[in-house]
């Protein structure tokens, strides 16, 4: 970030050395081992990557997963979205120094993690997907009551917190009109997910290219046109409520039948898988060469598409607003470690660390509160 005084005048993004060679490893594993590998791309979206990969391979093989598998995939994907969005809301509120609301949001995230443990045996990295279907069944008669009770509690809580967000003067002062991404910029930078939906672009893979059971259970897409941090926040908070309703509908409509389809011998073919991760469109491209080891496996995670759009969002804002603006695209935080603030006139780094930056952001909230 290049600054003149407090004002950001230019931004040059370096994403840091996060390259772990997942694609390289993937091209040396069998197609049945890869779901375990891509599950570890991200701890928060640990369902969406294997799901996306499996869909790409299924498309290349011409296999349709059975109905029950599609419903189970949907339920886990939506629970994942709930816990991811609640996690984000907490982090965002922490960045602006609103720790009490941050703890409320995380208080409702915990029951969702417990549900994961109940349904899949793990709080994270659920290991549900396999090529052609799913590996674990959900025992609906046994778990239905507990799941519905938890979802109702979380739903009621989040609706109440949404009301608090909308009314709170501090939240308004820090989020409304800050870090605006215009509709045109959003299109030029090809952004996806809540970042696009906060800028008035109604794209959501669940609606545009229905996968798993979304065509049957239905999704109501949330769009706000303002493009500021508040719009992106509201998209996420309302999506939590929507996801809860999707899980409830999917649980009630769950069909019986097998969990995975018979697979043919791997053909020479290619396939594209797309899913709506909590952060936006996730896309995997798989090329098969007739053996069990893929010729090429390309992964494009949503944050990768959203990070370049930080440039127009940050220009003209102050340093103290940078954390919440960067946070508004919900990046994997390991990417922000290389942020350095540079004086535009002298070209010298100002030596502002992550802690200092967050401190400046939180201090601004206190200033806002005092002047109110």
């Amino acid at each position: 970030m290049f600054v003149e005084g407090e004002r950001i005048v230019d931004v040059k993004i370096r994403i840091g050395y996060n390259h772990r060679g997942i694609e390289y490893l993937s091209q040396r594993r069998t197609i049945h081992q890869i779901p375990m590998l891509v599950e570890r791309i991200c701890g928060i979206c640990s369902h969406t990557h294997p799901l996306c990969y499996c869909q790409a391979v299924e498309e290349a093989m011409g296999v349709e997963p059975p109905d029950r598998a599609r419903y189970i995939r949907t339920i886990i994907a939506e629970l994942e979205r709930i816990h991811s969005h609640l996690l984000w809301a907490g982090v965002a509120l922490h960045l602006i120094g609103y720790d009490s609301l941050f703890m409320y949001f995380w208080r409702y995230r915990e029951p969702i993690c417990m549900l994961f443990e109940l349904l899949t045996g793990n709080r994270q990295s659920y290991a549900v997907n396999c090529v052609g279907g799913v590996r674990r069944d959900i025992d609906v008669p046994r778990h239905r009551d507990r799941v519905m009770r938890t979802l109702k509690e979380v739903g009621d809580g989040v609706r109440r917190l949404e009301g608090m967000l909308l009314e709170d003067p501090l939240v308004k002062a820090r989020l409304v009109g800050v870090g605006v991404l215009t509709r045109d910029d959003a299109r030029r930078y090809c952004v996806v997910g809540p970042t696009a939906r906060g800028s008035g672009i109604p794209i959501d893979v669940r609606v545009c290219e229905p996968y798993a059971a979304y065509a049957e259970v239905g999704v109501d897409i949330k769009v706000f046109s303002e493009g500021d941090v508040m719009a992106k926040t509201l998209v996420r908070v309302q999506e939590v409520v929507e996801s809860i309703e999707i899980v409830e509908r999917a649980l009630d409509a769950m069909p019986g039948g097998p969990l995975r389809a018979e697979l043919p011998e791997p053909p020479v073919s290619e396939g594209i898988g797309k899913t709506e991760a909590p952060r936006g469109e996730n896309i995997h491209y798989v090329r098969l060469n007739g053996t069990v080891v893929p010729e090429r496996h390309k992964v494009r995670a949503p944050t990768y598409a959203n990070i370049p759009s930080l440039v127009p969002q940050l220009l003209g804002e102050t340093i103290a607003d940078a954390p919440i603006v960067i946070g508004s695209i919900d990046p994997c935080l390991s990417c922000t470690d290389r942020l350095s603030v540079v004086d535009a006139e002298t070209g010298k780094p100002l030596g502002i660390t992550y802690e200092k930056l967050v401190h400046m952001s939180r201090k601004k909230s206190r200033r806002v509160l005092r002047s109110a």
Partner: protein, 155 residues
């Protein structure tokens, strides 16, 4: 295989506009179409698909196919439920194509990543620096090339 009624006009328009330039096309399902074009035409084609047909660039996949590299530009049409993939190849003797970043800023990262991992050059890229590999690595260090493992073990 044929495309869905909403997606078909998009492919038709592209074929109409670039009729002679299209090497071959393939429809794999009702929402996946692949169109091969010569690499010289990629900027013109991408411009048409992005600005006239209003497709969104999802990503670019590069594949080492032995004698050269294949590039797959995946354009998503959200309303029509279509992924239109433009594909072109560049031989290893001249691994270069024109950059589409001046046209689509969203392509900046993925083009830089391919330059890092495959050693493919995107001409006229506004910021052709390394993206994910360390600056200290040698200039011919391209780990997703198929001969990379052998090269390292020979050293």
């Amino acid at each position: 295989m044929s495309l869905s009624p909403k997606a078909q006009p998009i492919l038709d328009k592209l074929v109409e506009r670039f009729g002679e330039k299209i090497l071959w096309k393939q429809v794999r399902s009702e929402r996946r179409a692949y169109v091969a074009i010569p690499r010289e035409a990629i900027v013109e084609c991408a411009n048409y698909v992005f600005n006239e047909l209003r497709g969104r660039l999802s990503t670019i996949s590069a594949v080492d196919v032995g004698g050269g590299f294949e590039l797959l530009y995946h354009f998503t049409f959200d309303e029509a439920n279509l992924v239109l993939t433009l594909r072109c190849t560049a031989p290893k003797t001249d691994p270069a194509v024109d950059s589409i970043t001046p046209l689509i800023p969203g392509a900046e990262f993925i083009e830089r990543e391919i330059m890092d991992l495959f050693g493919l050059v995107f001409r006229n890229h506004p910021n052709p620096e390394r993206l994910i590999l360390a600056e200290s690595l040698p200039p011919d260090f391209h780990p997703l090339r198929k001969d990379w493992g052998e090269k390292i073990s020979r050293k």
